[in-house]
């Protein structure tokens, strides 16, 4: 199975999935996050490995970016979920992949995205006493991070 066949089979099952900027990139809504990833993992495409979860702060939206990998078909797929800035919540994938536990904690710590259903959503890199999410673009760095000399 190559990447286009996988995407076609996914689009047949879940209408409304959009192909992103490149052919191995999908944009899905947060309502279908759980069924889409369940299909990706347990379906014929066999994306058994959750490679990484990260996010990009686009100021008015936050993109949560998943990279999943299939050993069987030797392909990697990028899946994006775009969240409104006022509703940073997305279903957790901890029931599907053990790897999701720490990866989601990291995204929560750095971006403030809440993963619904995560059993232990605590900060992972920064101290628990922090209230800020440092990789957000509105994070005030002054006084904390030294600026490069101009």
């Amino acid at each position: 199975m190559d990447i286009t066949t996988i995407i076609h089979s996914l689009q047949a099952k879940f209408p409304g999935i959009v192909v992103g900027a490149s052919a191995d990139q999908l944009i899905i809504t947060k309502e279908v996050v759980k069924p889409v990833f369940e299909f990706l993992k347990n379906g014929p495409a066999a994306f058994t490995s959750l490679h990484s979860i990260t996010a990009v702060d686009r100021k008015d939206t936050v993109e949560v970016v998943y990279h999943v990998h299939s050993f069987a078909h030797r392909v990697m797929l990028t899946v994006k979920v775009i969240l409104g800035n006022d509703q940073l919540e997305v279903p957790s994938l901890t029931l599907l992949w053990g790897a999701a536990d720490w990866l989601e904690r990291e995204v929560f710590d750095l971006f403030g995205v809440r993963f619904e259903g995560h059993p232990d959503l605590r900060r992972i890199l920064n101290p628990d006493s922090w209230t800020a999410h440092p990789l957000r673009k509105d994070f005030q760095m002054d006084g904390i991070v030294p600026r490069p000399v101009k």
Binding site: L50, V56, H67, I124, N126
Partner: protein, 364 residues
């Protein structure tokens, strides 16, 4: 007689946690009931720093991620940047990159083996063997780029400079030496009764669990998955070389040691072929120093510890809008608490040592 649960704090300052890792262990007698790793003591917000540095300026920061294998980090970042910018390095630069990356893999695996044996109580001797041989590689790197630990040798589009005179002879001497000396490691450790008793069938990581937790690199191959990006998704010129993907049978701590030992031999094979086929030409990059970054790119490479990924997002300006580092040790450590539950506390250090983590790339 009834027992009560005891909580033990292992780390953050502990000789066998390989950096500042804090494990909260709940014990019932000697058996680990629960393990809660706490990380972040080495967090330097490298991903945030990247947003205020150009790609060229960011290169030295990648050295500080997995500081045992800086060349491989340079390589991963270079390839991600080149993928985003559509640049290809000259053939000579690609061969040089393979040579330094594989030399650094040997150095990294040597240190992993040495510290693992040290963790098991083989006091000093194996570690000194490893450090003695790693020193030879460090001296080669010192000659090539003037640094011993944080090399910053690779550049976007090429390398910083050609091999200096005499360096290829040093590498050839090292390979002959290392091939001669490897049987000594096997005599000392591989069949050693105490070493086997401490590591065989300890910390068995089943194939399914490893994949489920995103474990990669030698740890995954020790569990029997023949997956190596150098073979399966070849980058640079790895597809031109003849080498094997080493796998283990049981996925226990001994297998993880053994896979690293055999990978050293495979790396030496690659270095030999790359050095033999080194094409002529100029390896130094002839590209701009300032780039406009458009779109996004994700590139992963096979680091000594697993798959290192760089995800670079540009917004048309010279600075990355977002730069994510997917570090292999992060995933490799996240499986630890699942592995050591129900184990004796004395084996926790064995499992941790066999996973070969570096805190620099976990905390970033």
């Amino acid at each position: 007689m009834d027992f009560q649960e005891l909580t033990i704090n292992m780390g953050p300052q502990h000789p066998s946690t390989h950096g500042v890792l804090f494990l909260q262990l709940k014990l019932d007698g000697e058996v680990i009931v629960d393990c809660q790793p706490h990380i972040g003591y080495l967090h330097r917000s490298i991903e945030k720093i990247a947003e205020s540095r150009s790609l060229v300026q960011f290169m030295p920061f990648t050295d500080r991620l997995d500081y045992i294998a800086s060349m491989n980090n340079n390589l991963g970042f270079c390839l991600a940047a080149e993928k985003l910018l559509g640049i290809t390095a000259s053939p000579r630069a690609q061969y040089l990159r393979v040579i330094v990356a594989e030399l650094n893999r040997v150095a990294s695996h040597l240190l992993a083996i040495g510290t693992f044996a040290q963790d098991l109580g083989a006091y000093a001797t194996p570690l000194f063997y490893a450090l003695r041989d790693r020193e030879k590689i460090i001296q080669i790197f010192d000659k090539i780029c003037g640094q011993r630990l944080t090399y910053n040798y690779l550049r976007i589009g090429g390398v910083a400079g050609d091999l200096p005179a005499g360096a290829d002879q040093l590498i050839k001497d090292f390979m002959a030496y290392q091939r001669r000396i490897l049987p000594e490691y096997h005599d000392l450790l591989t069949g050693n009764v105490i070493f086997c008793a401490r590591s065989k069938n300890i910390g068995v990581l089943p194939k399914e669990t490893a994949i489920n937790y995103g474990v990669t690199g030698p740890n995954l191959r020790a569990s029997g998955v023949a997956w190596d990006l150098r073979k399966d998704e070849p980058y640079l010129v790895y597809d031109k070389f003849d080498f094997n993907v080493v796998t283990g049978a049981n996925g226990d701590s001994w297998d993880r040691y053994d896979v690293r030992m055999r990978e050293i031999e495979e790396s030496l094979k690659i270095i030999e072929q790359a050095l033999g086929g080194l094409p002529e030409g100029d390896p130094v990059a002839k590209v701009n120093k300032v780039f406009r970054l458009n779109g996004e790119a994700y590139m992963r490479t096979e680091n000594p510890r697993g798959e290192l990924g760089f995800y670079i997002v540009g917004d048309g300006g010279p600075l990355p809008y977002r730069l994510k580092v997917r570090s292999p040790s992060f995933a490799n450590l996240s499986v630890l608490s699942a592995m050591i539950k129900g184990m004796n506390i004395s084996d926790a250090v064995c499992v941790l040592g066999s996973l070969d983590i570096v805190m620099g790339e976990i905390d970033r």
